[in-house]
Symmetry: C2
Subunit: 412 residues, 2 copies
């Protein structure tokens, strides 16, 4: 493969995570530490992904991060420091002018390396861009670097960003279980966790099973149909033996007929302005449990902190995220293109991974669900095997730098 | 004051905090390290406060914590390790049999020192118990040790437990602001923070003002009447200059006529079971903003993690909490009774406090609100003075011990 000399650009896309900036830091480190053997001159960043790129909203990252201390802070900064977007590139035949505009910008900045950090939609962008540049004979290496808290990308053992969310969830659930245990009156606490189609995040609430720790009494993933009668029956049994029951549910759980629990079961009510309002899944269950058991019920949505609480990021996750970013730079300089970087698990105990890459077309627009053997037969918890599989991912804590009592962040 | 030799008992009451166990650890350390000059033989713990005490649900803490390592872990364990209760003792004239039962138990265990860690209601228990033991001539020293995340107790500069919640809130708000900044489309995020009557916790979202950090664009405390028209006007102005607006509201904000925002403004709707449901304050505002501006709106309730996220406790808070617990043991051994331990601020910069105590009757059943000069004139944020006052409380991080990737807790 001939040496391709030019500049590089990196962008972030899709929902933020606690680790997407660590991957960005990995790309920056890869360029500044010369993982590319001198092929890349300047690293640019596009603001707000391809949406900002099309407006030529570009920042010189080689300059901005000439102070290496800032890169460490970037690794502990949540959300996308370059900004993000939800834009998907059009099909090539339906949007040639978009692609022509992009090529114009690439030529202007002599961009020969394109790194895109994101989820499923971003891999679609990588695939289309690779195709178009090949078609029009513009030499550019295009690499996708995965991130998503949902962990639903195929082709990689897990996705950067997931493990930090998992560590936040496992820790917060443990704290909530402690909090709920203080009173003797019967009470149910329902905790709603992100993940509309894949239950990996909710499954993380069960990680302490791997070492005999406390986990929610019931755990429901979207991979199994939610059965109201079984749920009430199980809850009844538990409430007879202990006063405080904690239930973890994925936001995406559905009844057997496909209706979301938050729709079919919930408060599909009309507000004072006359608009129909849909409650969350936990809130819907709160109402249903109150109605059935008459005991105290509380619902909690873990909400945004799941994906942005970088103060309790998994060290394993952050280190792997940096690693895949760096590896992307190296791979591209060696001629790799149209690929997504992947993490391959070599062994679980001791935990060991390799970084590799796969064709994006194998990955884009597919969803990786929680495997069958990771969910118990009754469908109301995860298996020990699942907990053992997830456990290594949440190991280690960052040595977070604080300033004035608050974690330090870098704003680009 | 004559030396009073006997055993001691300690209990926890009211809502859990991230620091109430640090105060318990302080009492245990005080007894084990002999802060009492040899007066206290054994330290007992009552499970679930006076409720458990009346059932003689008692544990020997001197024995349980003979391993000092466990005490350090107790200091990083959230919620009340002894369990809690919401029970208030009856008026003496109306419940003599309750008090007689208590004296019987005190005599049985030779309890001469009574430490009660709690909020307002707990100080009421301390006052009544002091009165009764004096009346019936049972020699026992009764000390209240404050805790409440709400920081609404009078007579003390601040309450143990508040600062850890404040650090969690300031950190989480900073992370949420980062998360919300990634997209360019107009969006409003409303974050609901605990505190029905006092706005200290919500004010903590404004702490970064003290050092020029980012804070929510609008902050509403229950100390000021919430004006819908002014809110919309302010929001409109901000939405014109930036795409992502973050609003922090106390759960207890009310309109000028006294109606809670979550009642008068919200989704007072009927669920599918025919029951009237009341939404939270943030959810109510979400609906109202959507209706007025038509932009994307999201609501977040910080919920229980505010009070149980001990993984990000304030070191200042935990150290002070231990200190007041230890000081309570010392004070009682020196003859102090019917008092609540207090924290007196000597200076803000450099931050310095003294531990002292005050008569509980000055404290019980009163509420300390956020002072007028801490809220800006428009009533939509806190002042720099407020931020500077709160800043020292959130300084420092615990060296939290993790096991298997999750903070270690001790269960008594």
């Amino acid at each position: 493969m001939s040496k391709l000399i030019g500049n590089a650009i990196v962008g972030q896309s899709g929902g933020p995570t606690a680790a997407i900036n660590a991957t960005l830091a990995g790309v920056i480190r890869g360029v500044l530490e010369n993982a590319h053997g001198g092929s890349i001159k300047t690293l640019y960043g596009m603001r707000n992904g391809v949406e900002g790129l099309l407006k030529e909203n570009i920042v010189n990252l080689s300059e901005f991060f000439s102070d290496m201390d800032n890169i460490s802070i970037l690794e502990q900064t949540p959300a996308a420091a370059l900004g993000s977007c939800r834009k998907k590139l059009p099909k090539i035949d339906e949007g040639r002018e978009t692609y022509e505009k992009l090529i114009e910008i690439f030529q202007k900045y002599d961009i020969r390396y394109f790194f895109y950090i994101g989820g499923n939609d971003s891999m679609d962008t990588v695939a289309k861009l690779s195709e178009y540049t090949k078609e029009c004979d513009y030499e550019m290496r295009v690499i996708g670097v995965p991130k998503t808290i949902d962990n639903d990308l195929v082709g990689t053992d897990h996705t950067p960003g997931f493990a930090s969310a998992a560590k936040y969830i496992a820790t917060t659930m443990t704290e909530i279980i402690r909090d709920c245990a203080v009173y003797t009156t019967k009470a149910v606490t329902v905790v709603e966790i992100m993940g509309r189609d894949a239950g990996w995040l909710t499954a993380s609430a069960g990680i302490p099973k791997a070492f005999g720790g406390e986990v929610p009494d019931l755990i429901y993933l979207p991979e199994r149909a939610f059965n109201k009668d079984e749920f009430f029956a199980d809850l009844k049994v538990i409430l007879e033996v202990k006063p405080n029951v904690v239930v973890a549910v994925s936001e995406g759980i559905r009844f057997a007929d496909g209706t979301y629990v938050c729709e079919g079961f919930g408060i599909a009510s009309t507000d004072v302005f006359g608009h129909k309002q849909l409650s969350g899944t936990a809130k819907a269950l709160e109402v249903a449990i109150k109605n059935e058991f008459g005991c105290k019920v509380r619902s909690i949505e873990l909400n945004l902190p799941q994906r942005c609480a970088s103060h309790i990021a998994s060290k394993t996750d952050i280190e792997e995220s940096v690693l895949v970013g760096k590896a992307a730079v190296k791979a591209a300089s060696e001629g790799v293109t149209r690929q997504m970087m992947t993490i391959e698990r070599v062994s679980t105990n001791p935990y060991k991974v390799d970084v590799s890459h796969r064709d994006v077309s194998e990955i884009a627009n597919k969803v990786k669900h929680v495997s069958d053997e990771f969910i118990n037969e009754r469908g109301n918890s995860v298996t020990d095997e699942c907990a053992r599989y997830l456990l290594p991912l949440i190991q280690g804590e960052l040595d977070v730098k604080y300033e004035n009592g608050i974690p330090k962040h870098v704003i680009i």
